[in-house]
Amino acid sequence: MARLLSILNTTAARLSALYLILFAVCATFLVIYMTSLSARMLVGQTHEAINEEVRGLDRAYRRGGLPFLVRVIESRARQPGANLYLLADANGRILSGNVESLQPGVLDVMGWTERPFTYSRFGEGEARLDPRAREAEHKAMAVVFRLPNQIIVMVGRDLGEPEKFRNVMQRALVVTLAIMCAGALLIWYFVGRRALKRIDRVSEASRSIMGGDLNRRLPVSGAGDEFDRLSDNLNKMLDRIAALNEGLREVSDNIAHDLKTPLTRLRNRAEAALAGKQKTADYRAALERTIAESDQLIRTFNAILMISRLEAGYSAEATSTIDLRAILADVVELYEPLAEEQGVALEAEIDGAVTLQGNRELIGQALSNIVDNAIKYSAGSGETPAVQVSLETAASEIRLTVRDNGPGVPDADRRRVTERFVRLEESRTQPGSGLGLSLAKAVMTFHGGRLEFADNEPGLAVTMVFPAEAPKRKVETVFRKREASD
């Protein structure tokens, strides 16, 4: 019962009740309107038929006088399903016709009888005695007029047809309404119960999520209805929150795990410098190393923060229409002296302008990290260490590739190189935070692109793949630093 009550209390139930009432009212109105319209039409036809009859009788009377009229009436009255005919004298005594008796007073009113009256046909008289007597009485309407010799003539027509029609319609209406009510109640019950069940399941799922089961998702029935759409969207929201949460957890793990080591080293170094008597120059050297180490720590910390912010996607980071080619030229120009110093040939194939929606700073930083790595790892390997940077545009993507001929990265490790803090064993001796490629990857994801790694045989080819149509982001002109004296 409580369950039923709770169903009655749902929006769906209230709505269906409202619709039921509305439909019932409309159906009733429609049926009544149609009935009365058809009844009026039938009555109109009756009128017309009677008038025609009267005109015929009138013509007969004029042609052959009363005897001919009586003959005509007699002959017409005998036809099956005939109209009602009656001839009476001035006192109302029935002289001829097919009406045996009729409601008193009908003959007193000349012209159309306003209301239907009861009568019984000639030859049905005996029936009045048995219990079915009333069946012999029929409703009719008629026109009554007097002939010049005071003879009363009545011509009428049975109203059985329209009456029967009205009855059928009324019964149909009642049945229809009953079926509608029953159907509505059934639908109401099942739909309401189903909706209620699904809402219960969703509430139950959300309670368990709130309770800490963060991997739980709202049920999706697969019907694709509004409930599914709602659950689906809420699930997507939960996924996003989970991803952010996961990112946050990863960051704190990384901070705890990877910043503690250099911090400990820093502390030990300071402790060692304090222990024992040392010369001023030694103190200086220790302090300088400490500063250098903290700078590196800050750099690592900044990189972690930046990656997290980019990965979280939440960022008002300004994007604008930028020329990728110009950034490439900038970075190559920036690294060219370093490459030369390291004995690495840095070459770039740059032609045409490639514009896209993006952040110049971020892309510049990502590319410089990749070029930095390429120079670092190709330096000193083989006879002619070289790094090539190329820019290709295809129909759907823009590919910026940096190739080196250094030792490369084994297939198995290629996927791992963009993970935070992953520095492959062989590279432990090289300086760096281990975050350069992770940052580059985060920047690419932010721009709706990706980072690809391939074997350059020998060496590594890193490709920044941008979608040709950059995803729509808030477009904002990157504010350039004001240079008052420039």
Binding site: I291, E340, E341
Partner: protein, 223 residues
């Protein structure tokens, strides 16, 4: 130089005051946004150093209101936020430079000295001279002791920036920002290589060094 430091952290503020004093400057300290604003409005300072997050009133609104009131004293914003967009909002609010915490004091000092100089010299000279080195911005030529030195366009801009700030320390990040217009921190110190290449061109064959390395801070061009 008289500096107003608006910084709520007592230790950081005291450290700045001492460090500025050691560098030959006087610094006044305001500990919250409101008093900072009134001091900035009434006192006469050469440079403001304003923390972005302050009790009572945030740093950006102080700068914005000072600028509205016609106060053009150069302001450097200190912030724990360092993302590109934060820098953009900071500069848009009327700040002249932006430095992310934690920072090296040498970096802060170098930037402040450059800011002060920038405010002072409104008229741009077309020829810079440092010792016997001469840079002509119009004809894009560099001469030392009358002898022409051929520079790449970027080397020219690098030297131009250093000559404009001759006698002042310029840090590596300042060079990357002003000569290359990038604000990130390169993994390897690529700037050093550019400097040494430039040094080779302007000092090779001459006895007197002009481009000096300032340990722990950056570079300085001086006679």
């Amino acid at each position: 130089m008289k500096i107003l430091v608006i910084e709520d952290d007592r230790e950081a503020a005291d450290y700045l005051r001492n460090a500025f004093a050691e560098a030959g400057h006087t610094a006044d300290i305001a500990r919250d946004g409101d008093s900072g604003f009134s001091m900035a409005e009434t006192g006469s300072y050469d440079v403001f150093v304003i923390d972005r997050m302050l009790p009572r009133r945030d740093g950006l609104s102080i700068i914005a209101e000072l600028r509205d009131g016609g106060n053009d004293t150069p302001a450097l914003i200190l912030s724990a936020l360092g993302e590109v967009d934060d820098r953009v909002t900071g500069l848009r609010a009327g700040g002249d430079d932006y430095l992310t915490k934690p920072y090296a004091f040498s970096e802060l000092l170098a930037r402040i000295e450059v800011l002060r100089r920038r405010a002072g010299t409104k008229d741009v000279e077309t020829v810079y001279n440092v010792g016997d080195l001469e840079l002509d911005r119009l004809s894009h030529t560099v001469r030392r002791a009358g002898q022409e030195i051929v520079l790449q366009p970027r080397e020219f801009r690098l030297l131009e920036y250093m000559m404009r700030h001759a006698g002042q320390v310029v840090t590596r990040t300042m060079l990357l920002e002003n000569v290359w217009d990038y604000h990130f921190d390169p993994q390897t110190n690529v700037i050093d290589v550019h400097i040494s290449r430039l040094r080779g061109k302007i000092e090779k064959g001459f006895e007197k060094p002009l481009l000096h390395t300032v340990r722990g801070a950056g570079y300085m061009l001086k006679d």
